[in-house]
């Protein structure tokens, strides 16, 4: 009895306090701006500029003819390639002349603009269709795994966490590399962002249904939802729903970048993903909570990925909100819906402040990978002058991948590709911990990013 009790207590403590990965940082969380704002549907903008390349893989080709009428959810662009995802009309409307836009990451892509029509789906109905319960959990076990993968492909699903990797590629079964665990990533370790948090509070059913579908598709026998311990409400809401359907919640210690696959998998499962490989190589598939909800809507309700939750937040936003926005809506439209920018706004970032991209124009469309818009004020953006590296090694201490960031960054700056390669330039995940801690204010991660972009054969 006593022994059993001890074992139980030990197991309980182990499940409560996972040991975090080595390195990482604790930036101020700043989630308070938007964490209590329920998800709202964006009023349909007059024009949607839908990019034809929003995912990792081959770009899509538009199928639209000029002035062709399109209906919400209809395929408007597709590609033959396996690693790609079709794109669907986010609203009812009329196709316009295609153009080109520059995405926040600097990529120039073709677009399929759509002028929205007078009749649109009612916002409440839209939110209910995409996120609301109840979900037919009992049926999931009977669905053919290949059919789920096919629906992911048909629904244009990509990872909503940021990298936008096509979901059907991730979930397709591979006999040589069996998957035992499906990990749902609800860490949202980036400061400010609250879209995943709101989804966990408002749509736990959709997340769990999506997770079970993903597990069925890839053959995982275990479903684990990973949530950082700074989101106790989300843990409280998700845990009972997960438990009801045989999934568990793993509470991860709060540490940036816990939401990175290469940090989350070792922390929760104790497995290390080889560089150049995928979580698949260690029997794991990771999906973001947003992707899970999209998977539920695509597989169980035949609704493709046309909308996503975007946090519009930060001290520069008049009324921070979490918005269910159609893909292709301009970031300016979202900001306008939030009451506009405050006068002391200094910088607007697509994504979180650690890994996001500063925008030089607000006329940029929301894509499947846009998790948030953060407006920083002059006070937030403290610009300090860069000084010489004194090799203090702080960047080495915080690098979650055990790299030597200063060596890679300075080698990249001097185009010394031999050194950059010797110090494993390609392994860098660009989490930005190094630049965050650098006492000399050297833009380490930016230099490394540049090195990866221009030192192509390194």
């Amino acid at each position: 009895m006593a022994l059993g009790g001890c074992v139980m207590i030990a197991a309980l403590t182990a499940s409560l306090s996972l040991r975090p990965f080595a390195g990482g940082v604790h930036p101020p969380e700043r989630k308070h701006f938007a964490e209590d704002m329920p998800i709202e549907v964006l009023p349909t903008p007059a024009l949607l500029t839908v990019p034809l390349h929003q995912h990792a893989g081959a770009p899509c080709v538009s199928k639209l003819k000029l002035r062709q009428e399109v209906k919400w959810g209809e395929v408007i662009a597709d590609a033959e390639a396996f690693v790609s995802a079709p794109i669907h009309a986010p609203v009812n409307g009329i196709a316009q002349i295609g153009g080109v836009t520059t995405l926040p990451n600097g990529r120039h892509v073709k677009t399929a603009p759509i002028k929205s029509g007078p009749t649109q789906v009612d916002p409440a109905e839209l939110k209910q269709t995409l996120l609301g319960g109840p979900w037919p959990f009992a049926d999931i076990g009977a669905i053919d795994p290949a059919a789920i993968v096919a629906k992911c492909r048909a629904g244009g699903l990509v990872g909503e966490g940021g990298a936008a990797f096509p979901t059907h590629v991730k979930l397709a079964r591979n006999e040589k590399r069996p998957v035992d665990t499906l990990l749902v990533n609800g860490c949202e370790c980036e400061p400010y962002l609250t879209s995943d948090y709101r989804l966990m509070l408002e749509a736990p059913g959709a997340i769990v249904a999506g997770a079970l579908l993903a597990a069925r598709a890839c053959g995982a026998t275990r479903v684990v939802m990973a949530i950082e311990d700074n989101k106790p409400h989300a843990i409280d809401v998700v845990r009972p729903v997960a438990a009801e359907h045989g999934a568990t919640v793993a509470v991860a210690p709060t540490k940036y970048p816990m939401g990175g696959e290469k940090q989350l998998i070792p922390t929760v499962l104790g497995r290390v993903v080889p560089n150049g490989g995928l979580p698949l190589d260690v029997g794991v598939v990771v999906i973001n909570v947003g992707t899970a909800t999209a998977l539920a809507a695509a597989a169980l309700r035949d609704r493709p990925l046309t909308h996503r939750v975007v946090s519009v937040t930060g001290a520069g936003i008049a009324q921070p909100k979490n918005i269910l926005a159609p893909i292709g809506a301009s970031i300016a439209d979202l900001i306008k819906f939030c009451g506009g920018l405050k006068p002391d706004t200094a910088r607007v970032i697509a994504g979180g402040p650690m890994m996001g991209f500063a925008l030089n124009s607000l006329d940029v469309p929301v894509t499947k990978g846009t998790s948030g818009i953060v407006a920083l004020t002059r006070e937030d953006v403290r610009r300090s002058e860069e000084t010489s590296c004194v090799r203090c090694g702080r960047c080495v201490d915080v690098c979650p991948l055990r790299l030597v960031p200063t060596k890679i960054a300075l080698a990249s700056r001097h185009r010394d590709w031999e050194t950059a390669r010797a110090y494993h330039l390609r392994v860098c995940c660009e989490c930005g911990c190094c630049a965050y801690v650098c006492p000399a204010s050297i833009p380490l991660v930016q230099l490394i990013r540049m090195g990866k972009a221009i030192g192509k054969d390194v």
């Binding site: 010489s388 090799r391 203090c392 991948l401 060596k407 494993h424």
Partner: protein, 296 residues
Amino acid sequence: MFDVIGALMPVVLIEVATFRHASAFKLLLAVATCMGAEGMFQAMRGRRATLGDGSALLTGLILGLSFPANTAWHIVFVASLVAIGLGKMAYGGLGQNIFNPAMVGRAFAIVAFPAALGAAAYVPAVDGVTMATPLSAFKAEGMVAPLTLLFAGIGESAYGTSSALASVVGGLYLCFRRAASWEIPASMIGTAALFALVIQLLGVSGGWTVLHELSGGALVFGAFFIATDPVSSPLTPRGKWIFGAGIGALVIVIRKLTGYPEGVMFAVLIMNAVVPLINRWTIPTPLGGPMPVRTA
């Protein structure tokens, strides 16, 4: 930088309390000359003044502490000029130098003014504690200083007073603030202790025990304040262990096998020279292994 300067204050206070105005004058001269030299060389290079970063102040302070209180003013002056000019600016300024600038200045002075800086030059301080440094007294006459006096650093030594006690207090603060890497002092003191222990166990120590070896001279001061200079020490934890161990071993080797009573300065300079190599040997394997070579 300013953390290090703050952490040096216990050492400075004990020295100034012991040697009064002689020591205060020496420290002020070294700091003023280093800062003046930095300003002058930056102006000559047409660069922005970098005095605000505190690094020239720190070099001056460490250099000043490394001279006995009664060192002639011109020696301190020349050593300070060389420390900044040859030790730092010649390489391109902050962050570019290979060797610890303060040790470059001191090495230059030792070579340039051998008579003035030998053991014979030590005169009784204001409150007159010892004539020669405990290390050189032991080397020359086999005289073993009392351990408590040695540890507290009230006596004179090759490096200012280098109170081991004050160095430990300031050094622990530094490591706690993460302004210095704890790996370097740990491995340096550990290795020196190991070497000294072997000598003691071999029975050839002449009553100069491990604790004497650690408390005397500049070992502890050097471990926390000189060897930990980030610019001239390795980047990775593994590199820091190797670096510290190398210095610790060399200090004892120099003390026991050469004509010099103290070895911290040369040990640091020798290991500084090896840092680029250590960095190359200790490139850490990334989490998840190296990227596989892409086959086109």
